[in-house]
């Protein structure tokens, strides 16, 4: 039974954050939750150099609507400066500021609502990598983690 006053999308997300596949990623050090302040989920996803990429993910409409993520500085509670976006490996193709600034700083990926808004054909042409309502938040963070495996996160300067 749903708790009164709580968005059923939030309840669904909270359930999925306790699932074995999400928690196994936490246990393996691949990602972790910083906080959930509905409708935003703040996470840190581990990159290839062992550092973490902060992301703020808009999860309203979950799971019917694809999550919408952006690189995020959790300490400053602000968009991560472009100079600190992931570099190396496949990350520059995904975290591409030239494209992202027109799509709420989204990663260029078929799991993200920004990518699917720009390329609705990806849902049918790349179903293995596209969000659909049967996906869970684990799929989203796993897809981001894929693209960070060969990446480094530039340190803050100054």
């Amino acid at each position: 039974m749903s708790e009164p006053g709580i968005d059923p999308c939030q309840l669904r997300l909270e359930r999925d954050l306790l699932s074995s596949d999400f928690e196994s990623g936490v246990g393996a050090g691949l990602w972790r939750v910083v906080k959930l302040t509905w409708p935003y989920l703040d996470v840190i996803i581990t990159a290839g150099d062992g550092s973490g990429l902060g992301m703020r993910i808009l999860v309203d409409g979950y799971p019917g609507v694809a999550p919408g993520g952006q690189p995020w500085d959790h300490e400053l509670n602000a968009l991560l400066p472009i100079t600190r976006w992931p570099t190396g490996g496949t990350a520059p193709q995904v975290f591409n500021p030239n494209w992202a600034t027109s799509y709420s700083n989204a990663p260029y990926m078929a799991c993200d609502r920004g990518g699917l808004t720009a390329h609705p054909n990806w849902a049918t042409e790349h179903p293995a990598r596209a969000w659909n309502p049967s996906r869970t938040i684990t799929f989203y963070v796993r897809e981001i983690h894929h693209e960070l495996r060969g990446a480094t996160i530039p340190k803050a300067t100054g």
């Binding site: 074995s20 596949d21 196994s24 393996a28 691949l30 290839g48 293995a128 596209a130 796993r142 060969g150």
Partner: protein, 153 residues
Amino acid sequence: MRIHTYSAGMQGALTHPDVPPETCLRELVTVEVDEVVFRVGDEAELDVELSVVELFGAEPGHVIIHHCHEIAVEVSYAGNEKRLTVHPAAHVNKVRTKAIASFGLDAGSSADLILRLPGSTEELPATNPIGVYVPKGSCALALDLVHLVRPQG
């Protein structure tokens, strides 16, 4: 506490959502005579007579019940094959890393490689224990190492 249990041939986990910390692991798992319980990601056998808080502290626990002590994995990549030996509790991610190393692939060309079961289009989740893909009665597994296709334009 939450305890997630995996077993051979069962690709999803069985989750015990509200386990009192003093509960013995033995109360949560059914272990056949030829099976052993391992912590996922760890090759050490778990003592099922210990409580879950002794085994996992305050963190969620992930265990796999398996009949193999090692699994022979035959990995196919670009028409070539390599044979690996892995522990049933090893994460798929670790098997992937070993497979990439066995083919001598560098980091640049391997970042988008994933493991799949032959004939499947679904990636094996990196954090699953590899033992779940081995059915009871076998300690062998065939896998494909393939490049993910990244949507462009």
